[in-house]
Symmetry: C2
Subunit: 530 residues, 2 copies
Amino acid sequence: MERTGHKTTRRQLLSAIGMLGGTAALYNMMTTLGHAAETQFTGPPNLSGARPGASVIVLGAGLAGMVAAYELTKAGYKVRVLEYQPRAGGRNWSLHGGDTYTELGGATQKVGFANGNYLNPGPWRIPHHHRTLLHYCKSFGVALEPFIQFNHNAYVHNTDAFGGKPQRFKALAADFEGNVAELLGKAIDLKGLDAEVTAEDRDRLKEALRNWGMLDHDMRYTKGLKSASHRGYDRPPGGGVNGAPTPSDLLPFDEVLKTGIWNNMAFFMNHEFQTTMFQPVGGMDQIGKAFAKQVQALITHNAKVTKISQDKKGVTVSYSDTGSGQISEAKADYCVCTIPLTVLSQLDNGLSPKMQAAVAAVPYSNSVKVGLEMKRRFWEEDASIYGGHSFTNQGISLISYPNNNFFKDGPAVLLGAFASGMGGYQLAGMTPEQRIEAVLEQGSVFHPESYRKEFMNGASVAWSRVPWALGCCARWTEETRKEHYQTLVSMDDRIVLAGEHASYVGCWMEGALLSSLDAISRLHKRALEA
Amino acid sequence: MERTGHKTTRRQLLSAIGMLGGTAALYNMMTTLGHAAETQFTGPPNLSGARPGASVIVLGAGLAGMVAAYELTKAGYKVRVLEYQPRAGGRNWSLHGGDTYTELGGATQKVGFANGNYLNPGPWRIPHHHRTLLHYCKSFGVALEPFIQFNHNAYVHNTDAFGGKPQRFKALAADFEGNVAELLGKAIDLKGLDAEVTAEDRDRLKEALRNWGMLDHDMRYTKGLKSASHRGYDRPPGGGVNGAPTPSDLLPFDEVLKTGIWNNMAFFMNHEFQTTMFQPVGGMDQIGKAFAKQVQALITHNAKVTKISQDKKGVTVSYSDTGSGQISEAKADYCVCTIPLTVLSQLDNGLSPKMQAAVAAVPYSNSVKVGLEMKRRFWEEDASIYGGHSFTNQGISLISYPNNNFFKDGPAVLLGAFASGMGGYQLAGMTPEQRIEAVLEQGSVFHPESYRKEFMNGASVAWSRVPWALGCCARWTEETRKEHYQTLVSMDDRIVLAGEHASYVGCWMEGALLSSLDAISRLHKRALEA
């Protein structure tokens, strides 16, 4: 491969930019040249020139609040953070053995997991392109390990297909692709697509279909070692005298279609769920703890905000101590408010009517997660499933296998439900004990021999019952975006909102961070102009 | 979900089998019921009843030889292992910093990698269904970590497409699926497939194509946020005022076809390369070392086998010490010979003419691997690629990114070539220095700004020049299988061959182990009959 003049010129250009403007400029230029449109993150914000003594009060010590506190403090602002909970991190949260959690309605769970096991009720996986989060994880020393998002060998279950018997993803996906390839090949041969595809591309496309869809020489998807090499064998290849493999039966295409396997295939191709994904070693709360380590001195815990007001001089926040009930006041020049909209909309919040309308307009999702501790990793030992998810059209939506401590003996926690919509409402309406029973019943479809037998204990979080969130995360629609988004993210005099709800990366930690960095950049600009 | 009578009966049946016959019987029964056809491994072999004093000589201390020695010793046989190298493990091998390697032709490389970095010249990844290998890894305490086989964000390069500019896998795969879906949708609408698909399935298939292929309401694959959610954004979703994403341009379908992207898509669906895959923590040689720990006392190293003979009384092996040149003889009742066929065919080996013909009939592949140590992880930092492979139609075939120490600062080793066929012959014909230059030149296409700039040092192994293997692994054809396989795996009087070449899982450690377990089971049967 000769290097072309174009490439040399481009490299020289990039090098020159690198010398002049540093990494961020180089990064932006690379993006322009089509090289790395992976993120809107271009590095921590430049907040230079802050007026000495300028102050900011941050409401909420989740990731959005803590990153604001961290960057504003670095820039020279005087920062205070008020947090309702005794713990920093917000929805970045893990339940470990020994933890106690009381939900709205009063039910209290004492988590019984063995040492080292955990449930991440909120965020649980990190896309490789969430570079803001990855930046701070690296800066703050959070160790990450792969999260196995895509597992060909896990199950897909649909009550309306195959008599309710789960099938392996690989078999359904291979059969879907094989049938699609065979049908399109036929259509090409029947001259149906001559107007759509040139003769040259038709030949190339047929070659593609034959090799992608594992078709035989006659362009048919048939039982044999070729299809088995994708869908799995009846008897896989082995060694010695009886080493020869035998192929597996194809599944009936109409039943394959009934599973909705295309949804799972499309899910794995979704930008947010593409490989490689990560999780913190030891639980998602390691991220919140690492942020908290940076800003702990700024945080007042157990502080329930009761009123926010602003005038020409600044912002005043009243809050009560959740233990003593004592009321205090905090004052600052500006406020970054990261309180979830579900809670903020119920507060005397000092926002303009237009902003109030925006705050009230965004509904929150109602996800429910249930962690089940099992005596042993039967999904690994008996079913060769290491991480990833088995999907179902039942209320639990999926079960997800742990991505840490592969192959280890002893108890492990799998995610027994990640329910939303109707499934979420049903589980949220139950007692914690009833939830366990329901998810054991539904999840048994995947591992009927072991699921109940190996079960030890469980823990559940219904986000609609989480006292400090009253929902999982913001679910914008196209219409609410159009009407309210720009209002919601604007500075409302001295107050600016931040959090995943103030982003297009809703329900992700990355959205909370990007929102917050944008919010404090504008707050800083406003402060400089004051 | 009600449990059906069928399920209950099945569970009861399985439970009863479990009580009667133990795990292996339960496993076999589950396979019969269609539950777990993942492997031919059903546990370590039962070699009970060995005659006291019966002896076996094992030739080669690779995995096949060592598992034979381990299981035969456990069963009561008197075992000795002869190994040519000063090291056990065979092709299970890692090159670490400080190692020295001399290839056929005399070129010597001193490996300059930093502490902890390595190249696996031979096996480098473990499928989740290679349960024999996983069994022994667990038994012998080998820690495994995920090997990121499938990475949507890595590149695909073809000199004949896009003017030689690499594209992200996700964009090519999304555009292939989108175009296939749109074309098949059109064919259905044009009534071309009415004879092939029922009306009900046609509707379901159209729904599937729309959702799998990210088609718009008119069943067209168009530029927009829907296609961008699979292929990537021009500007990805962000936070705050400028958070809205913008879609990316679709690639021209004729160019997409020219990349041969379907080969990559099919590759990831291949049974052997399906997720989840693993690698040992610290290098593949950790497996060989763990096996060696079990049988070290039985191994005579630096023993070059010069002659094998057998008669009614037993097997005699002559060998010379590679240091002193001193000739010795070893005798045993039986012999398990794991010497690669490339070497065995050149020995005075005492095998029958029919077996000699089989040994001579199997060609070996000529893979070449090159490890490149880079100053920093620019593929992670600049290109958001964490593990996985970028593919090319150049001789190097791919570059592969390390799956350990993600996000870490400091030097890392990537695989700069995994060449075979013509690309392998070309690299094998060069000096180690020339190989480095060639793979830097070819690999630069993926990371033009960094590849040469960040390069520190490299190491290469051309398997055709490995003195003790003379090739990488056995490549059976359908014809040679038919003519020679059953001969090759049969007991040739008192000698039985074992290794990946004596399996249908060729070129994999699993094949070596399954072959060996089958070989010693038959040896044991023969010994009991003697």
